[in-house]
């Protein structure tokens, strides 16, 4: 045996090893169940296939989870993203529905602008409660989580608003050079966040605030404005996710749009290896987490299992991944392996 660890062993120690294994297993299950799962067709210049759908349906969750990652990195949490999703969709569709020319591009752009601006303002409100007033994040965002759906109901007048508007429909269902627009948008946002946090000092300062707020303050870090910003950005992304969700159904459902998306987003962040205690965050980890959750939902449907038991399957995968990532379980497994190793080595010698 050489002294340096073999490549596979180093790979197993990588943070994202187990989440990626889980993702591969899920994809494999689907492929075995239906061999055409992996195939991607080009039809009318558009990409089609289960994997494309997977990415398209996962785009809103990715957006929400990206914002959530930044919030969690500062030791916070944002429960209000689901409500913001509902409000954003309600505002955009109500504006389009009340406009005389729902099919005009200008109308849609104005609607999108209003919805995103409002989402941003809601995030500023959350950030104000947390960073200025010092309210615990879970409580501060709970306010908007519960009140937000009521606001969305007010906007839609208690009805499920439906409209016909081709430009708006493109956000959720359109294609851009063969790729779904939602996937392009989510990809762009992902790249922007990655560049912004890793090419500037923002990532390090966010982590510093999350790991040790007081030390960061004494080091001159503007902890307040950083925390404020991440909540605003998180809500802005949730607003964009709300536009996608309402666009793919062309309906604003104040009660059900983005329902429980905050929980899925938190799960995705945790699966991706960002600790709820704040500090170090991993955007690629969050991406893997989102893909796992999205694939899991799809798998349950494809296997013909009733959607009502989906949460159970989600729970099982989450528990498995979290256990695999827990340092304590890793130590236990490592200790077992060490005990088993000498016997295995001895057996190998005998057989040789």
């Amino acid at each position: 045996m050489s002294t340096t660890a073999p490549a596979w062993q180093r790979a197993t120690q990588h943070r994202l090893f187990w989440p990626i294994v889980a993702l591969v297993v899920l994809l494999a299950v689907n492929t075995i169940n239906r061999p055409s799962f992996l195939s991607i067709r080009l039809q009318d210049g558009h990409l089609f296939g289960s994997l494309v759908n997977l990415l398209k349906n996962g785009a809103p969750l990715l957006l929400v989870a990206l914002g959530m990652t930044l919030v969690i990195a500062t030791r916070g949490i944002d429960l209000s993203v689901g409500a913001v999703v509902a409000i954003s969709g309600a505002v955009a569709l109500s504006f389009i529905a009340s406009s005389p020319s729902p099919d005009s591009l200008t109308t849609v752009l104005v609607a999108v602008g209003i919805a995103l601006a409002l989402s941003f303002v809601l995030g500023v409100w959350n950030g104000f409660l947390v960073s200025v007033l010092g309210i615990q994040p879970i409580i501060a965002t709970l306010v908007l989580m519960t009140a937000g759906r009521g606001v969305a109901m007010l906007i839609t007048g208690g009805q499920i608003t439906t409209v016909n508007s081709a430009p708006y429909k493109a956000i959720g269902s359109g294609f851009w050079f063969g790729v779904p627009v939602a996937v392009v948008l989510a990809g762009l946002v992902f790249a922007a966040v990655a560049l912004l946090t890793r090419r500037t000092a923002l990532g390090m300062l966010i982590e510093s605030v999350g790991i040790n707020p007081e030390a960061s303050r004494l080091a001159g870090v503007k902890a307040r404005s950083i925390i404020w910003t991440v909540y605003a950005v998180c809500a802005l992304f949730a607003g964009l996710a709300g536009l996608m969700i309402s666009s793919s159904t062309m309906a604003a459902d104040a009660n059900n749009a983005g329902l429980f998306i905050e929980l899925d987003a938190i799960l995705a962040v945790v699966i991706g290896g960002t600790s709820l205690a704040g500090g170090k965050f991993s955007l690629s980890g969050t991406l893997v987490g989102v893909l796992i959750i999205q694939t899991l939902t799809l798998t349950v449907t494809m296997l013909g299992i009733s959607p009502s038991v989906t949460p159970l399957f989600k729970a099982i995968v989450v528990i498995a991944v979290c256990l695999a990532q827990s340092p304590k379980v890793r130590d236990l497994v490592a200790a077992r392996r060490r005990r088993a190793a000498p016997t295995a080595a001895a057996a190998a010698e005998v057989s040789a």
Binding site: R199, T200, A201, L202, M204, L205, E207, S208, I211, N212, E214, A215, S216, R217, L218, A219, G220, V221, K222, I226, G279, K280
Partner: protein, 513 residues
């Protein structure tokens, strides 16, 4: 002291107590004897082992060796409950009560009289009223605890300790957040209990209070017993020098004789000039000038206000009186950031809680201050970062010399050097160091001291705080003496000043005796 020192049969005898934590011997063969009807002070600087000893007596920590005898019977406490059952009741520094409950509920919590399995509220209130009467406290048992001052809450905590048959009452820093009248009220209760025959163990950093209330004292230093003394027979001066100790021979060998050159006072204006700067409940208004190239030492016991003074200069706390001039211009130091912009850097005494960012690397920890100053958008170019980091790892001999190592895995001395590097990288003109050498090994300590002297030689102003007076004397051009949150004296540190002189100033409070 008018009362005779009681000398009855001891109620607590702890002998040869040793407790070891991984890598640290917290207590090493310490004895403590408490007699009924006496107030016994437990004295020592931070880290001397006072709290560890209290936790051994209250059963929070189990002891590695030694004997604990309470009321004639030997005990091996394995939890606070057992110690309480034996009659040892602690009242901790932070009041451990439920503010949302009534006074009576707080006093009787866990000992409520019961009737048919349910709490008998009337009896509860009556018993609580009796306890209050015993301490001569005029309080309504049904009133909410939150409606009373901190001092009254402290007294309620004592009441609570007395509900169980209490032979030994432990008061850990009971006066740290009380004003003079409240202290008097507390002491009246303490005397009353003492006269009833309760043994009281009193821990406080306020020397005056210790001399006012205690009959005897036990002094600890670095986990070892210095001795037990009758308070009236031990002059303050001797007590302070026993607490601080003079065990720095090793260091003195490492370093040649200190340079006590008087700083360049030709500079007409001080770099920092504080006038009447103060903060209520933290430090009384003080004046302080710091000239370029000068090291000003702050001497005083723990809790004397030396840290609080430094925090005001650094913008870590906001002053509510007085003003500061930096480089001659009026400056409002409202946040650490605003102080940094005026080239004032502050290294906190709490290395873990307020210094290092544990999960970040050495590199990130070094550039954090500089990067924060530039703002997030203007990231330091990687090349410049590497140059800065390499320079300081080399200059300060940081080990491991690997910039990617996580700072939480470094030894205390190396963490301190990284923090120094963080501040030096911001090119400060005033460097405030609060206990930069606490808890680090002798070698690193000497290196940091040398660095401070060199920096001052290059024209930087330094405010240097340390519990070790030898260190303060070795480095400082001028020494400000703090006591009980007041700056009581300021002396120029020339050849003739000795540790004893400073100790005397601390003990006398700067007044000629």
């Amino acid at each position: 002291m008018t009362t005779a020192v009681p000398d009855g049969r001891p109620v607590v005898e702890m002998t040869g107590i040793s407790i070891e934590f991984p890598g640290v011997k917290a207590l090493d063969g310490v004895d403590l004897t408490l007699r009924p009807g006496e107030v016994h002070a437990l004295m020592g600087e931070n880290g001397a082992g006072k709290s560890t000893l209290i936790k051994a007596l209250t059963g929070v920590y189990s002891i590695d060796s030694g004997r604990i005898v309470v009321d004639g019977a030997e005990h091996t406490f394995s939890g606070p409950g057992e110690a309480q059952a034996a009659g040892v009741s602690p009242v901790y520094q932070e009041v451990n009560l439920c503010e949302n409950l009534s006074v009576a509920e707080n006093i009787m919590l866990g000992h409520e009289p019961r009737r048919l399995g349910a709490i008998d509220w009337r009896a509860t209130r009556r018993r609580a009223g009796e306890m209050l009467a015993r301490l001569n406290l005029d309080l309504d048992p049904a009133s909410s605890l939150a409606s009373h001052s901190l001092a009254v809450q402290q007294l309620v905590a004592i009441c609570r300790a007395l509900v169980v048959e209490c032979k030994v009452l432990i008061l850990d820093e009971p006066t740290s957040s009380l004003d003079a009248d409240e202290v008097a009220q507390l002491f009246a209760v303490v005397r009353r209990l003492r006269d009833e025959g309760v043994a009281i163990l009193f821990v406080s950093h306020f020397l005056e209070q210790v001399y006012e209330i205690s009959d005897r004292m036990t002094v600890l230093r670095n986990g070892k017993l210095v001795g037990e003394y009758v308070t009236a027979e031990l002059p303050r001066l001797e007590l302070v020098s026993k607490m601080i100790g003079t065990s720095l021979e090793v260091l003195e060998e490492l370093e040649e004789a200190p340079k006590r050159a008087v700083a360049d006072r030709d500079a007409t204006t001080p770099f920092v000039q504080a006038v009447g700067l103060g903060r209520k409940g933290s430090v009384q208004p003080f004046d302080l000038d710091v000239y370029p190239g000068e090291v000003v030492g702050l001497a005083g016991l723990l809790g004397s206000g030396r840290t609080e003074l430094a925090r005001l200069l650094a913008g870590a706390d906001r002053a509510d009186s007085g003003q500061v001039r930096v480089g001659g211009a009026l400056a409002r130091l409202r946040t650490p950031r605003s102080a940094m912009q005026r080239k004032i850097a502050f290294s906190s005494e709490h290395r873990k809680a307020e210094g290092i960012v544990g999960d970040l690397t050495i590199r990130e920890n070094i550039v954090l201050g500089l990067q924060a100053e530039r703002g997030w958008a203007r990231r330091l170019p990687r090349k410049q970062v590497d140059e800065i980091v390499a320079k300081y790892i080399d200059a300060l001999a940081i080990r491991p010399a690997n910039p990617d190592a996580l700072i939480k895995n470094l030894s205390g001395g190396n963490q301190q050097k990284v923090l120094l590097a963080r501040w030096l990288a911001t090119a400060p003109r005033l460097l405030i160091l609060d206990e930069p050498t606490r808890g680090i090994d002798v070698g690193a300590k000497a290196e940091i001291q040398k660095l401070v002297a060199e920096l001052a030689g290059e024209g930087m102003s330094v405010v240097f705080i340390s519990a070790e007076l030898e260190e303060v004397l070795r480095l400082s051009h001028r020494i400000a003496v703090m006591r009980d949150r007041v700056k009581v004296a300021e002396i120029t540190n020339d050849e003739d000043v000795t540790v004893e002189d400073v100790v005397e100033l601390i003990a006398s409070g700067g007044q000629e005796s």
